[in-house]
Symmetry: C2
Subunit: 206 residues, 2 copies
Amino acid sequence: MKKNKIPDIIIGRLPLYLRALQRMEDQGSVVTSSQELGDWVGISAAQIRKDISQFGEFGKQGTGYNIKFLREKLREILKIDRVWDVAIIGMGDIGHGLARYQGFLDRGFRVVLAFDNSPEKIGTKIGNLLIQDTADMAAAIKKAGIKVAMVAVPADNAQVVADELAKTNVSAILCYAPICINVPEGVRVQYIDPATHLQWMTYYLE
Amino acid sequence: MKKNKIPDIIIGRLPLYLRALQRMEDQGSVVTSSQELGDWVGISAAQIRKDISQFGEFGKQGTGYNIKFLREKLREILKIDRVWDVAIIGMGDIGHGLARYQGFLDRGFRVVLAFDNSPEKIGTKIGNLLIQDTADMAAAIKKAGIKVAMVAVPADNAQVVADELAKTNVSAILCYAPICINVPEGVRVQYIDPATHLQWMTYYLE
């Protein structure tokens, strides 16, 4: 695999393919085509074939892709053929929602640690998940060997949290704070901020 | 303005610039440079200059950008120099969080309608926002002249909701359901699905 040479944008599409394949399988389908998969995700069949062929020969001309096989391959490639333990920092509405979200486990993630700095929240539970003091965050995350974190604190606290995470082995951060955070080299950050998505679309509105 | 020729990816970066400029202004800054703005958003100064110059001459060689002026220009370009009324469909954890989120109004959006299909939720309120029956959605959204919607229903219901929205003037949809929805031509959709973001990053983890 020419791993380092595959454009990041292609990697970003694989989770979408995987999500569609999962739904196809749930609906009882066994085989699919790049055309059908393309219709599901709104991407051309040619692009899908090109993307997937970066990683090997997973389909056959004329017969298409075996859904279960392609799913397994994509899960291996994305390294979610295992379960990643995840920490959530910030247990407001968003953190709370993420902690309760049932959709992670099927897709490779399990929330095992939760932190907040509010005395009213520390020590309370969401399901089985105990909310711990943010002050203990770096040590607890390090001890648990966690590499994936979701940051759902206000913008003003996000960099402080990022600096704490820099003391751990976390190298993938999903940031819900509406601010770009500075992280050490080698750490990846992706952002979720609904207002920026909406603003992107209003440009096109009449 | 060569509006139709500006790549969508550039439009997508403008909200990030705007968000950073807002924070600079909040911190009392008056002037910035493409270098400083680039540091805030993790994009090269050259790219920032190139992106912004697509829309006109908003800065001066040597003196940089006036923050307030550039913010106003970006707000005009993104059409958020006005406030867009927004409908939320699906009032689970995510919809609830979006309805309570205080960050929209400053950034061009006001949630004015909320819908759910659960009898326990219909008729209850979140702040001043009344949760209405999804069955009345299309009529209410049409009557209110709403063009922007956030869909936070389970994957299995998302296409039905999209089909209902197709009967209205909604042409920008932020979809939290983990599925790609089919919409009429001219309608834009952006997706927020934390698991796909996480999976994108685990590819790079050791």
